[in-house]
């Protein structure tokens, strides 16, 4: 598979259509992440679309020593913060929007999953922005603390504390459910 850096070089050399390779690689994944971050699908898609546009315009600044996905994620987190700071309301994903963020094939126990989704959104909504970011980046995106530090600009020890506290807080909120 062609590396992200090689695709970026093609785009910078004038092959605009090559950018669609990067869109295909990251768009869906980052919409999922943004939904959890900003709390509703509409804002999430807008944030991701804006992220790709900004990344395209700033592509000349991308440096190969950094993973393209991490660079893109940094722009996304900044955009999500801006949207949140503007007071966009985190909306419950249920019941209408929840199915849109879950795969259609995974409907083995619809009632249980619906309940779980509701618990999940409620719990994430109760975390502060920084804790929610750190939790999602570490446990859902699987980033190392070093990578999260590069994305968020926060120190590693502070991030470890945020993740620890977010887990504690989620356990409190989901008390009795024990699914974290």
């Amino acid at each position: 598979m062609e590396s992200d850096a090689a695709v970026v070089k093609r785009v910078l050399n004038g092959e605009v259509e090559a950018f669609s390779i990067l869109v295909e690689r990251y768009f869906d994944h980052y919409v999922r992440f943004a939904v959890h971050l900003v709390g509703n699908r509409e804002d999430a898609e807008e944030v991701v679309q804006d992220t790709f546009l900004r990344a395209y315009r700033a592509l000349g600044r991308y440096e190969e020593r950094e993973r393209f996905g991490a660079w893109l994620l940094r722009i996304l987190v900044n955009r999500a913060r801006t949207v949140s700071a503007m007071g966009r309301r985190r909306e419950k994903l249920f019941p209408d929007q929840a199915d849109a963020v879950l795969p259609e094939t995974a409907q083995a126990h619809p009632e249980e999953r619906a309940a779980l989704r509701e618990e999940m959104a409620r719990a994430l909504d109760q975390l502060g922005r920084d804790q929610r970011e750190a939790f999602l980046l570490h446990y859902v995106e699987g980033l190392s603390y070093e990578e999260i530090a590069a994305v968020t600009g926060s120190g590693i020890s502070a991030l470890k504390m945020r993740v620890k506290r977010s887990c504690e807080r989620l356990r409190e909120i989901l008390q009795g459910v024990n699914r974290v």
């Binding site: 869109v23 768009f27 898609e45 900004r54 700033a58 592509l59 801006t82 859902v140 989901l174």
Partner: protein, 197 residues
């Protein structure tokens, strides 16, 4: 189990990706990175010696930086200051002429622009704009401890640039002395500078 649910893939409408690619095709080509210029006393003195003919001239970015630093010192007392409560600003200034004698080769492609904001209570101020993908951490401004003024100097291509200051990593403020950009629901407050050739 919660983590598994959070990792579940998303069903995205393929049309949204098509719309994005349409926007990409309509967008201007990716911009070349701006040259970061950090005025430095020793380098400025070296540049003065070079400009006097004491040493061979070069057209490197570092030379450009020192020239910008010199021009900045010469012009800084001439600008109008605007007070807006806690945050004050000087208009972003294009400093082009002093550079010409040092780096004539790039004179026509880049102009030197100084950005300044007075924010005495801030612990960190950065500049973000369309020239750096609105990255709020990349272009840190340097603080003058005497008066709480923050400044950074960039080389920008001629054209219209949007920018904003990011105070303490979270507060986006437009340049109080600059021209306000058109409001946008999704974008933070920002200003516009038109860099002429």
């Amino acid at each position: 189990m919660l983590i598994t649910e959070l990792r579940a893939p998303v069903a995205v409408d393929p049309a949204s990706k098509c719309r994005l690619m349409d926007l990409i095709r309509e967008a201007s080509a990716p911009a070349a990175p701006p040259v970061r210029l950090v005025p430095n006393r020793s380098r400025a003195l070296a540049a003065i010696r070079r400009m006097r003919g004491d040493a061979p001239r070069t057209s490197s970015a570092s030379t450009l930086a020192t020239a910008a630093g010199i021009a900045l010192v010469m012009l800084v007392g001439l600008q109008d200051r605007v007070d807006t409560g806690a945050v004050r600003s000087r208009r972003a200034v294009v400093i082009g002429d002093s550079v010409a004698s040092v780096a004539s080769a790039i004179r026509d492609t880049l102009r030197i622009v100084q950005f300044m904001l007075t924010a005495p209570a801030a612990s960190r101020v950065a500049l973000a704009g369309d020239f750096n993908g609105w990255d709020p951490r990349e272009i840190e401004m340097a603080r003058d401890s005497r008066d709480g003024r923050w400044a950074v100097t960039l080389a920008l291509a001629p054209g219209r640039h949007s920018y904003a200051y990011v105070v303490d990593d979270t507060q986006w403020v437009r340049d109080p002395a600059g021209m306000a950009a058109e409001p946008n629901d999704l974008a933070p407050p920002r200003s516009v500078i038109v860099v002429t050739r």
